[in-house]
Symmetry: C2
Subunit: 532 residues, 2 copies
């Protein structure tokens, strides 16, 4: 099959939007949030002409999971692969959708992703790159992708000011107000007596919707006035409904672009079979619910094998004591009903996702992911070099800074890629040495960091092209005693094999033999558990 | 006297601040709002090293009223004199404080001024450039400058999204929540029963302030929790107090950097003598209150000739039906009191500023401004060319656009100044012709604009260096019937003579003879009245 061209033009601009029925300013694309879905076939060339219509902010867009073979300048990371595109300017991203899978895109400059600049990117399989599980779901069984995110009512500029605050000026952003499913949530309208509002939202008819102020002939105006009560139109914060026919098997793609939240997706009365992770095949396994960390993506197979009705989909927070209520969506068997609306709320309560602090359960899920047997490409037997990356929370000049081996990244004004291309690497950033590739042998990962002499640097690691590198991601205790959090790590431009997980400090002598060299999964995002 | 150097270094960054006792994100300088005062002497070289510490926004700073003789690149206007300074970059503004007067500085990119990026700039007189009214106020009689602004609780990104919205997505920002005096206001705490909160704020002791949550040992945390009630500390939203001694005469500088509001300043029991406007001498005249439009500055002489007590200063809105309550400050005679605090509220009610719609009164004030007789520099007898600028509100592609002679400005990505300097003027902007220098002879300024075929352009006028230009600023009716608003106009890089004002369409045959060629005031900002 000849590669096709997928060409779109985007205006990135501020929009007033009510993702959870509360209006805020967001960064939208072509006047909408989330940004437009992109669907391509493996091998297609995707071309996005991006016009920056914001007044003062630069912008870039990262194509999360796309390896950018041959087009590293299209990776969309400010200070790494390009300068931010200034207001009024246009930039064309052009790259190959190199392999089938579930991806997404998002702003990669400041906190623009958290401001709403993201959307889904689906790469369908092709005759040259078939997906081995394609025959396991029905034709037309591709459900809309489920893109998950977390949302704060406070704008990202205020969030940044608080997080960057020195000493007592530091302000933690707190837990998100709402978990969004495909950019939609229902703040304070899913629990207890307000559940009725959820039902109303579900069935609201745009044409007849009338709020207390009788303003609903103008759809937009009506929405802007709404609190948890009558809403119109349903477009911005209506619950997401996945429609299925009884007896068919579906493929549901799930991805997470949260800022903070670790999530779990559970569908009332249905099991899921995991078949894809981050654009790579995994050995199918059946789960009742699925954990998903920011940056990850999965495909699951879902059999509509229950009686024709509506079923709850719950998306709950894990890993942090949740102050955010689970997001809800509906799985609806439409085939048994004469007319689709009105949609009834499912019977019973939404399923309860696993306890937020049941880390063993999370580990069990993640550890069970293996490369698919019939397409497994095991890693090389030996690595050229080993890099240890200790991840700690530190204080630097009165400000909280995360650091790796006690070095906190400062982004250079000249992008690394441009610096190398133009021979500026001696002036554009600190090229006097590499970053430390290890951390002190006596570092106690179970205790708060004592080494608070964190330095800031824009040094890099230099790897041999085609080389094989072992990377040990070492989690540690935070500044507060006996607290360590789960951290997903994402790599641009490459997939990597996840050879193993463990608790406490990694000890090559004790742990290396237990690594999985046979069928480790390929991923672009890996999760490191507390103190792990 | 030899010129000195005034050198400062500024970090421009987001801050969480409570200018009217409600915390929001603002753009601050060196962690504070408003930005630091700059005081220089005429002839001094001011050098500001500006570090852009914002994460995604570019920034420039305009030195409002400074003519930038020999340093046009330091004017600080994005797309005009320079590119915006990108995040992480540094720009050094260096220019001569060319003449004594009352100035201020502000961001000139997007809506950053409205986000709080401004501060005062005072140029003191020198032996070479004496101010003729210097002997009329006492030594030490320079009061802190009064810099006025208006403030919205909605952030500027949301404001921009609403104002730029197409068709029904347009959202008007509404009237400001608070008028700020030197960056301080007291939202909902100056009227009626809440006046007590104002008094409490006035006298609050930082060390002992305790709010309901007992958090005030940490000053900042306390403030962040506050509503109209107990506040701590007093630093961010405490009322401004001007301290005077009975019998002395003072110089009070007043400037306005509002986005929308036309203001009037009135001091209980005191008259003011106007002596300076926009850094130019005016023939002294005595007023009960003073109108001030955005971009204007004045110096008034104030004699502390009342009994030792406290007096209200009211700053009220004019020109638009005010939904914003007047701002209040205190003039305090401290010399008669043994110990300064606690400060009593002044006796009686704050003075009431003139009715918002008493346009005749506004005209009377503005028309009475004349160049000071003993330093008058009248304009040349004849002009080389005449330009008529019709100012209308239009719709363009469903969006509200203000335009001049039916052309709405689009800013070019390459700054005009750089384009000319580098010989790029044929590619950087539309150099195929000039902007229209007149408007149709039958245009009815009393009616809504019919010519809605507004075009967008980045064309410029090209004037002869050293030439003399007559500019007629013609106000008109807005899109709504029988509405025309007052508009201040500001010119960069030059002062101009204000030859006259009038009502309705300017007719050279009828009106030219009535212009004031003898003692017109020099200004950098001129106000055009409704339909005027």
């Amino acid at each position: 099959m000849a590669a096709a061209a997928v060409e779109v033009t985007w205006d990135v601009e501020y929009i007033l939007w009510a993702p959870d029925c509360q209006q805020r300013v967001m960064i939208g694309i072509n006047g909408r949030f989330p940004g437009p879905n992109i669907t391509a076939r493996a091998g297609d060339v995707i071309s996005v002409t991006m016009n920056n219509k914001m007044h003062t902010e630069g912008v870039v867009i990262h194509w999360h999971g796309i390896r950018q073979f041959g087009t590293p300048w299209a990776d969309g990371t400010a200070s790494i692969s390009q300068c931010a595109v200034n207001p009024g300017e246009t930039f064309i991203y052009k790259f190959v959708a190199d392999k089938p899978g579930t991806y997404f895109y998002h702003g990669h400059f400041g906190m623009q992703r958290a401001a709403g600049l993201y959307g889904s990117l689906i790469v369908l399989d092709s005759p040259e790159q078939p997906e081995p599980f394609r025959h396991q779901y029905d034709d037309g069984g591709e459900l809309p992708m489920m893109l998950l995110s977390d949302w704060w009512h406070q704008n990202v500029y205020a969030q940044a000011a608080g997080l960057d605050g020195k000493d007592r000026h530091f302000e933690w952003i707190g837990e998100p107000q709402t978990i969004l499913i495909n950019g939609r949530g229902q703040f304070e309208c899913t629990q207890g007596p307000t559940r009725k509002s959820f039902e109303k939202l579900l069935n609201e008819n745009v044409e007849t919707c009338v709020d207390d102020q009788k303003m609903c002939s103008d759809q937009e105006k009506c929405l802007r006035r709404s609190e948890c009560g009558p809403y119109c139109p349903r477009s911005q914060c209506a619950p997401v409904v996945f429609n299925v026919e009884q007896g068919k098997t579906y493929r549901l793609r799930i991805a997470s672009t949260t800022s903070l939240s670790l999530l779990n997706v559970k569908i009332q009365g249905h099991k899921m079979t995991v078949v894809e992770a981050d654009g790579n095949h995994v050995e199918p396994f059946v789960v009742d619910d699925i954990d998903i960390y920011s940056g990850e993506s999965y495909s699951v197979l879902l059999k509509a094998d229950q009686k024709p009705a509506s079923y709850w989909i719950s998306v709950g927070v894990r890993g942090r004591h949740p102050k955010t209520v689970p997001a809800l969506a509906i799985l609806s068997y439409g085939n048994g009903n004469a007319a689709a609306p009105p949609l009834q709320l499912p019977a019973g309560e939404p399923p309860v996702t696993p306890a937020w602090n049941d880390t063993q359960r999370s580990k069990a899920f993640t550890y069970s992911i293996r490369a698919r047997k019939d397409t497994n490409q095991p890693p090389p037997a030996a690595a050229d070099r080993q890099i240890f990356l200790l991840n700690t929370q530190n204080l630097m000049d009165g400000r909280y800074r995360w650091s790796i081996n006690n070095v906190s990244l400062t982004l250079p004004a000249t992008p690394y890629l441009g610096a190398f291309h133009h021979g500026l690497q001696d002036s554009a950033f600190d090229a006097s040495g590499e970053l430390p590739a290890a951390f002190p042998g006596d570092y106690d990962v179970m205790r708060p960091p004592a080494n608070n002499a964190t330095t800031a640097s824009d040094r890099v690691f230099r790897l041999r092209h085609g080389g094989v590198v072992d990377v040990v991601l070492q989690n540690a205790n935070m500044l507060r005693e006996e607290v360590s959090e789960t951290h997903p790590w994402h790599l641009h431009g490459h997939d990597f094999w996840v050879l193993g997980y463990g608790d406490g400090r990694y000890d090559p002598a004790a742990h290396a033999a237990g690594l999985n060299a046979a069928d480790p999964p390929l991923r672009n995002t890996a999760v490191v558990f507390p103190h792990g």
